[in-house]
Symmetry: C2
Subunit: 481 residues, 2 copies
């Protein structure tokens, strides 16, 4: 058994040795994804897709609770539509795929596969919105999108990916701004309460904002290698698309007015985030709320009388309580099964053997701390439920502690460089807000602006940490995915 365990674990590269190889090992060995015959496109296997389904359920409930409805718009966008908003086409045209032939014939106009759906949706909104009574219009879409990428990594950056995109229309600038803020708030609450990932929410720089937006809000998480991951964005589109697509409404005062719009999105990329925020050298560590299996029962000495009966009984009790439970009755050894639980990141392993039954207890083993907790069999449901909640809370706290330990404050450029080189994490500093300065920082250091946080208002200096011009804002910088 010891040998098996060793062999099993050896297959995963240690995080400290090569974080990137560790990531690839985990996603492949935990059977989350596979590479396909189509360059840059991934196959999401059942274990990975199960996480996505749970993410969808949790998010969709939040969207509906905030008044949104789902709809579906076409996959293909005519070139002339894509071209209607100048900044938008400039941002996306270089990375789209073009359909040129259909039904055996060359098309009169090329169609791109949606890289995002603002243009096709706005073409409909210009028909649907006529009066102030039609507003607000609050829609969301769950779908696939495609952006031709040169270097890809499963979940983090693939040509095709799955996502949700919200698209809303409002009568006033203020309502659109409230919606933009509301949805980044929903994302942040979701990241923390469901994925156990603490995020910094704030505003993107001019350079990093969405192509076509007035401004973009983001939530940024820190991975275990100290790099940032943009986990979701919410865009205030102002009237840019309204003017490009002529979306107007007749207001109560009898005049025609352009609408104000927002869009916001999150994707399967979040799965990459939860792997890199929580995982360890034994594999995945899944936050309980999106774990396809929350508790796995491993019978010990399963051939002994009564063991399988008790295991089945516990399975039935946990399942009836709505816990996502499974029972590992495969042929493999107990040691192999323990390793498999760890590799797959199952929050709780429940061991039950003849001695446990004798003592009226089962052993619960936490994936987050490896702690072993004897739990009375007659309160097993409550014990498992409480432990799942405790695991979530601990994972969130561990991630927050890690981020805080890897966040540095720079009052000048020496400290800035120091933070980047030593810290492998976030550096926060005062910044001038100029794109030119931003590009120079990136060229010199490899870090990019992540966001100006909503919740922090320190005034570290009067001047920009890099160029010395007057400082306009506090900015988080980091290397990023």
């Amino acid at each position: 058994m010891a040998k098996e365990k060793k062999e099993f674990v050896e297959h995963i590269t240690a995080q400290s040795e090569d974080f990137s190889r560790w990531y690839t090992d985990v996603i492949m060995k935990a059977e989350m994804v596979d590479y396909s015959e189509v360059k840059g496109c991934m196959v999401i296997k059942p274990y990975g897709y199960g996480i996505w389904e749970l993410i969808q359920n949790e998010m969709d409930a939040r969207f509906k609770a905030t008044g949104h409805k789902n709809a579906y718009f076409p996959l293909l966008i005519p070139e002339s539509l894509l071209n209607k908003e100048a900044e938008h086409v400039e941002g996306f045209a270089p990375e789209v795929a073009w359909v040129t032939h259909g039904g055996g014939e060359k098309l009169q106009e090329r169609l791109c596969i949606r890289p995002t759906s603002e243009t096709i949706i706005c073409s409909m909104y210009s028909k649907w919105v006529q009066s102030y009574r039609d507003l607000p219009l609050l829609l969301n879409q769950w779908c696939n999108v495609l952006r031709w990428e040169k270097t890809t990594r499963p979940f983090l950056r693939t040509s095709e990916f799955l996502w949700q995109e919200g698209h809303t229309v409002h009568a006033t600038q203020q309502e659109a701004e409230e919606e933009t803020e509301r949805m980044i708030g929903v994302y942040k609450e979701f990241a923390e309460n469901v994925l156990a990932i603490p995020v910094i929410a704030g505003q993107k720089s001019e350079k990093e904002k969405f192509a076509g937006a007035a401004h973009t809000y983001t939530m940024e998480a820190m991975m275990l290698d100290g790099r940032a991951l943009q986990m979701g964005t919410s865009h205030n589109l102002g009237q840019n698309f309204a003017k490009g697509f002529d979306i107007k409404y007749l207001d109560k005062d009898g005049t025609q007015k352009y609408v104000w719009q927002t869009s916001w999105g999150t994707s399967t990329r979040m799965i990459g985030g939860l792997i890199m925020v929580h995982g360890d050298d034994r594999g995945l560590k899944l936050p309980p709320k999106v774990a396809p299996i929350q508790c796995r029962i491993v019978p010990v000495a399963a051939h002994k009388p009564g063991v399988m009966e008790k295991a089945n009984e516990l399975f039935d009790a946990l399942k009836a309580a709505g816990i996502r439970v499974d029972l590992d009755d495969r042929e493999q050894s107990v040691g192999w099964k323990f390793n498999d639980c760890e590799l797959k990141g199952i929050p709780i392993r429940l061991e039950i053997g003849p001695k446990d039954i004798e003592n009226g207890k089962a052993m619960l083993v936490r994936r987050d701390t490896f702690e072993k907790i004897p739990a009375p069999l007659d309160h097993i449901v409550e014990e498992v439920q409480e432990l799942l909640a405790a695991i979530h809370a601990n994972m969130l706290e561990m991630a927050r502690d890690f981020r805080e330990a890897h966040t540095f404050t720079a009052h000048n450029f020496d400290e800035f460089m120091d933070g980047i080189e030593k810290g492998h994490g976030f550096v926060k500093a005062m910044w001038c807000g100029d794109t030119e300065c931003e590009l120079e920082i990136k060229a010199k250091t490899g870090v990019t602006t992540r966001c100006t946080p909503f919740d922090e208002h320190e005034h570290l200096s009067d001047v920009c940490v890099h160029c010395g011009k007057p400082a306009k804002q506090l900015m988080y910088f980091a290397k990023s995915y």
Copy 2:
């Protein structure tokens, strides 16, 4: 109010006048879909998409209960993969859309947008299946597909549509056959118990089977104009794809064997089916289990004291019981609201006014029969729940009665022609099974073979109803969508 009602209803063409225009009027006015700027592609609006979400929930639960898991495979399929199974490529190549450029460059190999995913999935299965331990492999995918269509109608036939496709791999021919039958059975049970649509389940002719299948099972429903709609299919793929894609496993006996496969699918087309099976001249008539709104509360004399309070109280009680309820507090007249309930096909309209409150009752109005049922306010939840169940049962029965009244038995070709001309429905007759005969029947009469039913074994004649050769099977014929 009378005038409003009249105007409102006038907008829907009567079924008897022009069934096709009636269909278009209903889907547009009930706000289910809209036409997009992309030829042949529809936009599914929230009310239509809400039905699809309920269909997905119900089906997905059935797939999981029969051991299937969801996964996701790429949208794009390289031309060389599509070409690997000869019959399959012949069937689908003429109707695919081709991506020829991506990321600003011409691609070395064309990629088609999936018309169905057998080929891309089999390319993965050939990697994943190695041993008998890997079998059965039972996956399903919810996604969009695209088939370039010349003439399109929303839900019934569009270039892009949403669907689910199951793809399973088995060790033996028998297991694959059992799965093929199991899934057509799941579909039939779903159609009847959820959509309230009675279907004939049976086997497709050689000509009508899926391109690449050994044989295809189908469920066929009858629309209110007497035409058939294929509502879902389940294919036994035999070893055709296994051989094309080299999918083999090492059996317990130490030998390499080709696997046996199935695939099965249903789509947003089912929504077209439920419109045309249940609707009437006032609009949609939704089966309660997929109605986004099952019960709408319409306050009468809403300005009178206590009415809105009671309406809100009923809303809360029904919602808490898990009924999909809404409360129409819009500015429009009560008559307009009644019409809107009918147009949208909401199963129960609940009217509540000062007199009702005085009498301790609300008026429940059934969409299926227009019957008005006074219901005691203190048992409103039970009354609504029971009525929803009764409406489902009645809708299924009405549809079954209609189908039976429009199904004709033909012992010879005169009776066959008679049935088609008079009946506008299904004609069942004995048939030789030859494709040539099938093509001649279609050319002469416009009808196609629908299926040889599983559950009917009448022997009407020894010879084919058309060509006089020995009869091989009972066959349902009909004009179809």
